[in-house]
């Protein structure tokens, strides 16, 4: 069997979704932790020269970058427990939402860099995005993938292990039972999935990591005023 290696960054949702995909399909792999952002390995720079970012999957010595396409690659090479539906139209819907959530991911973290009024604006922005996702993306389904988790679910997982701890550090809450009932149910259902629940980054470790970042942003913000 060809060797599979994953270059990743432990708190990053872009890495985490690949870990979930590999584990859901029972694929053996070696994990190489990258010391981001300042100490990237020479292998990472060699395998992703355009973006120099994690995650990068190496299969039989050949590198693949961009987490969404790593997921599609994994899905194609190991087709059991599929991440994408069979029907072409349903696949286009899944890709649309995976892309939408992916594109909103970093913007949804911007509130964490901001303070005061700017922060409030970004928080409201997040609420708008979550409303769109709940109404148009998830709807009445259990998962974005329907009855089973799919690619869009793996991408949305960041709300649990990155957005939630960021919100906790700042002192706000995004997905609550009364404001986003369907997303709230999704969080519970997704977190209880066997492979998912055993493979979250350690919450407290993420919290500590984020607290240091928040202090850094606070210092920057003071110097800018």
């Amino acid at each position: 069997m060809a060797e599979v290696k994953l270059f990743g960054f432990w708190p990053s949702p872009f890495t985490r979704r690949v870990i979930w995909a590999l584990k859901l399909k029972g694929v053996d792999y070696d994990y190489m932790e990258e010391d981001l952002p300042h100490n990237k390995s020479s292998l990472l720079l060699k395998y992703n020269p355009v973006h120099k970012m994690t995650p990068v999957l190496l299969h039989g010595g050949k590198p693949i970058a961009e987490s969404l396409f790593i997921l599609e690659y994994i899905d194609e090479v190991w087709p059991h427990n599929p991440l994408l539906p069979e029907d072409a139209y349903e696949r286009s819907v899944a890709r649309f939402w995976a892309k939408f959530i992916e594109e909103k991911t970093r913007p949804m973290w911007e509130f964490f860099h901001e303070f005061g009024q700017e922060q409030q604006k970004k928080i409201e922005f997040n609420m708008e995005i979550l409303r769109t996702i709940e109404e148009h993306g998830l709807g009445d389904k259990k998962f974005f993938g329907g009855d089973v988790i799919g690619i869009a679910d793996l991408v949305f997982g960041m709300v649990i292990h990155m957005l939630a701890p960021m919100a906790e550090v700042v002192g706000v809450k995004f997905i609550e039972a009364d404001s986003f009932p369907r997303l709230h149910a999704w969080v519970k259902n997704f977190s209880e999935q066997p492979v998912i629940k055993d493979n979250f980054p350690d919450y407290n470790r993420v919290l500590e990591f984020l607290k240091i970042r928040r202090e850094y942003y606070a210092t920057l913000s003071q110097h800018n005023h």
Binding site: P49, V50, H59, K62, I64, A65, E66, L68, F69, I70, E72, Y73, E76, V77, A88, Y89, R91, S92, R95, F96, K99, F100, T132, H136
Partner: protein, 227 residues
């Protein structure tokens, strides 16, 4: 007798490179379709209903079912009509192609920023464009290969449409020169080859019409910024 409803409809806007991606994909596979030009200042109920999340073109409607986002549309077309394939079938080669298609998606907005901004903002956009072109020249294009797709164009070539046509027109309009042939020899060849492909050549917006619209848009944008 009632006219048969077109099975494939495309909602588009004549200036949008994202719409041309879909037009070319449909024409390269000889798929008949009905084209509906949208007035983006007065979007039709059909558009708003078909793409409630983004309210943007292009939207493909197949058997009444809408698909939005040009690259999602291209993947759908590829899967429903697999003849004249526009993506490699090998999973690894496909992943590499998808990487470059996303790169094109992520970096192309810098091109339209060139006419939408001035001063420092425009300089920043020019820098971003230059970096995009460098990556294409150094990492994307392979010496001796006519297209990203090899001897024939594929989805990657189509995804870089903004570089092939829109960039040149916008550069001319804005009085900039970023894509210098001596700096980007492979890219310059690629553009010539790409625009010689009959389906592409016969389906490109006209430079004069583009410049007239860009001029109007820029005036409106800069006026609203100063208010």
């Amino acid at each position: 007798m009632a006219e048969a409803e077109a099975v494939v409809k495309l909602l588009g806007a004549w200036l949008s490179p994202y719409c041309y991606r879909v037009i070319w994909a449909l024409k390269l596979k000889a798929i008949p379709y009905e084209y509906i030009e949208e007035d983006l200042s007065a979007k039709s109920p059909l558009l708003l209903q078909s793409n409630p999340v983004h309210k943007k073109v292009p939207v493909l409607i197949h058997d009444g079912k809408p698909i939005s986002e040009s690259t999602v549309i291209l993947r759908y077309i590829e899967e429903i009509w697999p003849h004249n394939p526009s993506l490699p079938t090998d999973p690894y080669d496909k992943a590499v192609a998808l990487f470059w298609i996303k790169f094109a998606d992520d970096k192309s907005p810098s091109i339209s920023k060139l006419y939408r901004s001035d001063g420092e903002e425009q300089q920043q956009a020019a820098k971003e464009c230059s970096e995009m072109l460098e990556a294409m020249e150094e990492q994307g294009l392979i010496e001796g290969k006519k297209f990203f797709g090899g001897d024939e164009i594929n989805m990657v070539d189509i995804a870089f449409c903004s570089v092939a046509h829109w960039l040149g027109v916008i550069e001319e309009f804005a009085g900039l020169k970023i894509l210098e042939p001596h700096r980007f020899p492979k890219l310059s060849s690629w553009i010539q080859n790409f625009k010689s492909v009959p389906v592409i050549k016969e389906n490109l917006p006209h430079r004069d019409k583009m410049i007239a619209l860009l001029k109007r848009r820029r005036e409106v944008l800069l006026a609203s910024k100063s208010n």
